[in-house]
């Protein structure tokens, strides 16, 4: 249905190289692709395969001074003006293309908005830069754009700053910014990776709407095959900087040609039928020797304000959460963005003050001395949500992974090196990458470094906060396998935080669903997935995109209002939910 349409972007034989310590290295080699008007092209593939580099090359925004286009052409077609060769353009000429003809949404929504400028300013300025609209008209168009991405109270939002918006809203602002000028081409680099399923659904729906209405061509970069299936007209699969396969979405999913594509598709976790899905195990028996036990955990953040700078409001991030994790067990914590998953994890890792009890390995964390806490810490390791932010950008990744060993005085220097190299191999990196710095990796590769680091100490409990979200499915599968293998070998327990219900379904033994700081449903995987009782749980499962273009959902039901806030006035504690046992430990909150 797309081949007949005219071509808008034509990339031929694109090569991108980066300069490292030992000479240049190609990260994109000989990539050719065509994008037609109104088409959605998905680029999927291994993390680190050059997807982001390709999109940056189109925008002529490759990271300086390391990367450059070493060969190839990028041609932008235009009915009126004819072709424009983008690779030869200088900044001034490029400026007219960027935003106006080709717009881009970046992989990192958190850092891509300017923290000191209001949303309104950031929206209107690009409109004013490319059109001759008056400020008032630009403002109106900005409001329209915000409304188009379904941001409530668009007019008053203009005055807000990025840090006052949630992650999902920021990403939508980015999209609004890109779309306000009605570009011919929109490049969206992992626009939904940072978002939970419900918001992801909305954002994808939005992209589709806009494309329908405006005929924009979209390059969508993602490793989530569900998203690909949902969105793509055509798909390109990349690996090691090269294109391994190209074709219509339906064809790729139905009849994958390349071995890698098959591998990729095989690795896609599916609810109820994932490859890695393990047998349900009964772990209730071991309850007495729990690795970690959390009882009535509360975490609240005080907000200062008002006339005397007193605490007048509180974020009730975690409100009376209790659970326990047995050795060898994986407990998954799922829920919407902002529901308190990461905060729970941080409390367990000792990073935020809390009230309630956290017992690790039989010892209550509060009331431990410094040395004892260090010992306990060895047993609990955490993999953070944002891989880039959680790695010291000034250290080589090899040193970063070795650091826990150094701190706890494990192994000699030589042994350490070997252990680190082994860890690298296990997470799908090569030993020679140990010499690189975090910024020299792609998003997914960085996450693998983080995982290797957490594994270094062979802890009893690993808290994995969205650890596999940024990974492509094949690596994701490998990492999940690795996690399971370690569990078998050493009896590691996991607290697995994720918004990807398919992954959760694949790895977990038990699942806890959180909503506004409280657990609304908890039970074994089978109990929660086959018999979800709480409406919120049901909604979460429903929102998961299915990796099959044939079963594409026509329309995703939108939430009508924003997610309720966990911020409350002092004294207004949220109502405590009572969990009811529906048999065999399947706890469900009574509906309010």
């Amino acid at each position: 249905m797309t081949s007949a349409r005219e071509t808008i972007l034509d990339i031929a034989n694109l090569c991108v190289s980066v300069r490292g310590e030992d000479g240049e290295r190609e990260v994109v080699s000989g990539l050719s692709l065509r994008l037609s008007r109104g088409e959605t092209l998905c680029i999927a593939g291994e993390s680190g395969s050059g997807k982001s580099m390709t999109s940056l090359a189109i925008m002529q925004l490759l990271p300086q001074p390391a990367a450059r286009i070493s060969a190839g052409t990028i041609r932008l077609h235009d009915k009126g003006l004819g072709d424009t060769e983008l690779t030869g353009l200088n900044e001034r000429q490029m400026r007219r293309i960027r935003g106006n003809r080709i717009a881009m949404i970046f992989q990192e929504p958190m850092t891509s908005l300017n923290p000191v400028l209001s949303i309104g300013r950031q929206l209107t300025e690009s409109i004013e830069a490319h059109t001759s609209l008056s400020p008032a008209e630009a403002r109106r168009r900005a409001i329209d754009a915000l409304k188009a991405v379904r941001i409530s109270e668009a007019e008053s939002r203009l005055k807000q700053f990025p840090h006052e918006l949630s992650g999902g809203m920021r990403q939508r602002v980015m999209i609004a910014m890109a779309l306000a000028l009605e570009p011919d081409v929109l490049i969206a680099d992992e626009p939904t990776t940072a978002l939970d399923v419900t918001v992801q659904g909305e954002v994808l729906e939005l992209l589709r709407d806009l494309q329908r209405e405006r005929g924009t061509s979209v390059i969508l970069i993602t490793h989530d095959m569900g998203v690909v299936a949902e969105m793509a007209d055509r798909v390109i699969i990349m690996r090691h900087g090269r294109m391994v396969e190209e074709g219509k979405a339906a064809d790729i999913f139905a009849r994958p040609q390349a071995a890698y594509t098959r591998e990729l598709l095989a690795a896609v976790p599916r609810i109820g039928a994932g490859v890695g899905r393990q047998e349900s195990r009964d772990t209730e028996a071991a309850a007495s020797a729990n690795v970690a036990e959390v009882k009535d955990l509360h975490v609240r953040f005080d907000l200062h304000g008002g006339f005397f700078g007193r605490v007048n409001r509180r974020v009730h991030a975690v409100e009376g959460v209790s659970f326990s994790i047995a050795p060898n067990e994986t407990l998954a914590l799922v829920g919407e963005s902002g529901c308190g998953k990461s905060t729970t994890a941080k409390a367990l890792a000792g990073l935020v003050p809390y009230s309630g009890d956290i017992v690790v390995g039989g010892r209550n964390l509060s009331g431990l001395g410094r040395d004892e806490r260090k010992a306990v810490r060895r047993d609990v390791q955490m993999i953070f949500q944002d891989p880039f932010a959680s790695l010291d950008p000034r250290m080589r990744v090899g040193d970063l992974v070795a650091e826990p060993l150094v701190i706890h005085g494990i192994a000699s220097k030589e042994e350490r090196r070997e252990r680190v190299a082994a860890l690298f191999e296990r997470v799908g990196l090569t030993a020679d990458q140990m010499e690189l710095y975090p910024h020299e990796f792609s998003g997914g590769q960085r996450q693998r470094v983080c995982i290797a680091r957490a594994l270094a100490l062979r802890p009893k409990l690993i808290i994995a906060d969205e650890s596999v979200s940024a990974l492509d499915v094949s690596v994701q599968a490998r990492v999940l396998d690795l996690l399971k293998e370690l569990q078998r070998e050493f009896g590691v327990a996991y607290l697995f935080i994720s918004h990807d219900m398919a992954v959760v379904e694949n790895i977990s033994d038990r699942v806890a669903v959180m909503y506004l700081g409280q657990i609304v449903e908890m039970g074994t995987r089978d109990q929660v997935f086959t018999n979800p009782r709480h409406p919120y749980t049901k909604r979460l499962i429903e929102a998961v995109p299915v990796p099959d273009p044939a079963r594409r959902r026509s329309r995703f039901a939108r939430l009508e209002q924003e997610i309720p806030s966990a911020t409350r006035k002092i004294g207004e504690a949220p109502m405590k939910l009572i969990l009811q046992d529906f048999g065999n430990g399947h706890l469900v909150a009574a509906e309010a």
């Binding site: 925004l61 400026r95 960027r98 935003g99 891509s112 300017n114 923290p115 400028l117 690009s126 700078g309």
Partner: protein, 306 residues
């Protein structure tokens, strides 16, 4: 905001109290005897003791400090030993000139320093960058006395654009501000360059470029406010540094500020004036820091006054 101000003012008052105590103690320990200076070379020991008693300088330290503090609270800084006038009057008559000069100097150094730093950061690694770097170091290394006289000689004596020293109109202000500003400009240029280079690497600058904004908009609207933040924090610090240079600059340009007053007082151990000027300059520094902290949230909305 008001609560914040209240807390900061109490903190500042404590700092000022500390400054007054330390200064008073140091001056008390100073071996030079102010009474001898007052009494003159022909005075008999009895006269000297008489004067000492009158000034209360025979009292123990704690009593002296307490007296100073209590009269300070009623706005009385005492009388100069040498000049015999009210210290308050002396300082009040000279303070506006010094403040004016300081404002002028800050404007100069911001204008020159930020521009230089900005250009250097944009042209990083080029000959322009290198020569700006040399220039900023010349500014920092050049003795202010020489800089002041050179400016005076060229722009006032030779070209006649500005008056040769004095006080009154804006034309009097230009050269002394410039002289003071040149030193700070060197610092600001380096700081600005460093922080600008950092900001230009940020994701949001890439976003701005991706939107196809004009170079000017990227630099001034997106990069500058982020880069200027550490520089703003410097302004408070600056006032303290200025206090050192103000003596020289004020004397070269015949600027009737408190620098000269302080200098003469130090030379002659005129303790009430030294105390007064110290407290006033401490006030200025504390206020400068407060101001820098108050401005910051306007530039970066993430910063909360706490």
């Amino acid at each position: 905001m008001i609560a914040y101000l209240g807390r900061r003012i109490i903190q500042s008052a404590l700092i000022l109290l500390g400054v007054s105590l330390i200064t008073f103690a140091l001056l008390y320990l100073l071996p030079a005897d102010p009474v001898r200076q007052i009494a003159g070379r022909s005075a008999t020991p009895e006269t000297v003791e008489n004067i000492r008693r009158q000034l209360g300088l025979d009292q123990p330290f704690v009593v002296q400090y307490w007296h100073y503090l209590t009269s300070l609270l009623s706005g009385d800084l005492g009388r100069s030993y040498i000049q015999r006038s009210q210290v308050t009057e002396l300082i009040v008559s000279r303070l506006p000139a010094s403040l004016l000069l300081m404002v002028g100097a800050i404007l100069c150094e911001l204008a020159i320093g930020l521009t230089m730093g900005l250009i250097a950061a944009i042209k990083r690694g080029t000959a322009t960058d290198q020569s700006l770097m040399v220039a900023s170091f010349v500014g920092v290394s050049a003795p202010q006395f020489v800089v002041g006289l050179l400016l005076l000689y060229v722009f006032a004596v030779r070209l006649g654009w500005f008056p040769i020293g004095g006080y009154g109109t804006w034309r009097h202000l230009v050269l002394p501000s410039l002289t003071m500003g040149i030193l700070g400009a060197g610092w600001y240029a380096r700081m600005m360059r460093s922080s600008m280079i950092d900001v230009l690497r940020q994701d949001y600058v890439r976003t701005a470029r991706a939107k196809g904004l004009a170079r000017r908009a990227i630099l001034f609207r997106h990069a500058l406010p982020n880069a200027i933040l550490p520089v703003i924090a410097m302004i408070g610090i600056d006032i303290g540094i200025f206090m050192g240079g103000i003596v020289v600059v004020e004397s070269v340009f015949g600027w009737p500020g408190i620098g000269q007053l302080a200098w003469q007082a130090i030379q002659r151990v005129d303790i009430p004036i030294i105390m007064g000027v110290t407290l006033v300059s401490a006030c200025a520094i504390v206020l400068g820091n407060l101001l820098a902290d108050i401005i910051a949230p306007f530039i970066d909305p993430r910063i909360k006054l706490r």
